[in-house]
Amino acid sequence: MPRYSTEKRLLKQELHLDEPTFQYLINQNLLTEIPGIHQHQCQRCFNQGRKYFGKLPSGHIYCRKCINMGRVSECEPLYQWNGPAPVYEQVQNPCVWGGDLTPLQEHASNELVNQIKLNGSLLIHAVCGAGKTEMLYEGISYAASHSMKLCIATPRADVVRELAPRLRKDFPNVKSAALYGGSSEVDEQAQLVIATTHQLLRYDCAFDVMIVDEVDAFPYHKDPALPKAVKRAVKEKHTLIYLTATPRTNLKLKSKLNLIPTVSIPMRFHGHPLPVPSFQYNKKIEKQILEGTLPNQIEKWINDRGNRRYLLFTPTVEMAKQLSTLLNHTPYVYAEHPDREDLVKQFRYNKFQALITTTILERGVTFPSIDVAVIQADHDVFDEAALVQIAGRAGRSANDPNGNVTFFCRSENKCDGPVETLFISDEP
């Protein structure tokens, strides 16, 4: 059995088979061919938009939307393993983590295991820094010791990169794969898959347990293909868990109507509340930065940090770049930055004091003992969820639970409405 092709829909080149083996598997009906485009829909990424299709000189239609995963077209079909399903190990005592859960964490953890036993679903609504990852450990252990395949999916590649090493340390005997665009790993029948939601587009009927972390994050909540990918990636009998600190309206509504069992954890694991941001106003903040002067308030804020480390969030790449120049070439990252992975790693390892970032680091990442500032917090890209998440980056460790969170806004009236009330109502 070709180990990496089970439970997936792959292009021929992704099968890594030599031609005779490939032909043999096709003839034996062990590999099934799925047309790449069927009834004007890409059979990998669900794309139906006319503008996302192209035509090859041969006249065949191809999908442009998911072309970065390899081209799917009318003449480039997908293949799916049709032989016996893989059998997963029963890993005894898979978890070696020795920490304790708080009573609230334990409550969520028990509920999670319950739902896995019932093939149910669950929303865990936990404030940033509640210790969501540890709440999953019992559930992961249960799945691993019952021959289940489990996936933790998140819209953010940075979250995958942070989560995978942690889980591997705490579950050393569970075979795992970390998948994101550009990762060199493949899922060769791994029992624990940590992946971006985009990577799920390659799966079909694979997982017994699916945990979608940061379910409200971009692009998951904007791209209808991704929830569809989650649905296709799970087995018929499955458990579906959503994790978030800031659920969007549709999930909130479902939870309120009791359509999905919900556990709420309003307290951080160390018992301290989320830092409340302070606000500073400056009408010209954007103009000044883009024209090459550092606004006084920001300069003062930075000087006040002393030796403390901090993150500066900017609404645009352009502003991140400008700010970096104004601040002695403080490193900056954004989604397409070629060294993004490396810079985040270096910041994590204390190689420099500050990092400028777009919203890519708004969630899912933990740097102990940092302060955060948001430049132009009233910009459209910083919606409520983003601001709550950003504030949640501060004060994450028990021995330093009070980070400074400052929002620099252009206009006073836009800031106090929803943002401040949101923070107050989110407190336990």
């Binding site: 080149q13 090859l56 000189p57 072309i67």
Partner: protein, 180 residues
């Protein structure tokens, strides 16, 4: 219409000049502005390869070396380039050549057509692609570009090796053919 690169909706702006030309916009102004034209980068170029040069020179170092090496029998008379190979172009080329996004060829349609308008007495002969590569990609990128000129294409060349040029260094490319 949507931008071929970023899929943004294109507002067809009808003015007297667009009304009488058939040139239809394929990409949005944002994407357009990220391409750099060689003639905008500098107004003085190497007379053979079109690399931007200081005013005092006619040939760049590479073309000068070729002339020395080949003793004036250089088969290359002149290279014409339209765009610089900046980061944006690199991304587009990766998508076009390596991912096989054929539609992107239409981004360059008008520009290529215009370039050929001013030329006389020529034959278009695309560099062929190995069969293996052709089957992978589904098209020959040189032929795709050539087809935009709207002129007859002559397939006169045959490939004798299927090694990828992109995997070789500059030195390896130059000295691949030992007889030189």
């Amino acid at each position: 219409m949507h931008c071929l690169i970023c899929y943004k909706h294109l507002q067809p702006d009808t003015t007297w000049s667009t009304l009488f030309t058939s040139a239809e916009k394929q990409i949005c102004a944002d994407c357009e502005s990220q391409f750099e034209r060689l003639i905008e980068v500098s107004n003085h170029h190497c007379q053979i390869c079109m690399r931007p040069l200081k005013e005092s020179l006619n040939l760049c170092g590479d073309c000068f070396a070729w002339r020395e090496r080949l003793d004036g029998r250089d088969p290359l008379k002149r290279n014409m380039s339209i765009f610089t190979y900046n980061e944006f172009m690199k991304e587009i080329m990766t998508l076009f050549k390596y991912r096989g996004d054929y539609e992107l060829i239409y981004v360059f349609k008008e520009e290529i057509k215009q370039t050929f308008v001013s030329l006389k007495d020529f034959a278009i002969v695309p560099i062929p692609l190995s069969e293996e590569r052709f089957n992978e990609r589904g098209f020959n990128q040189a032929e795709a570009i050539a087809s935009l000129a709207g002129e007859k294409i002559l397939n006169l060349l045959k490939r004798t090796s299927s090694e990828k040029q992109s995997k070789k260094t500059k030195q390896e490319r130059i000295f691949f053919n030992k007889s030189i």
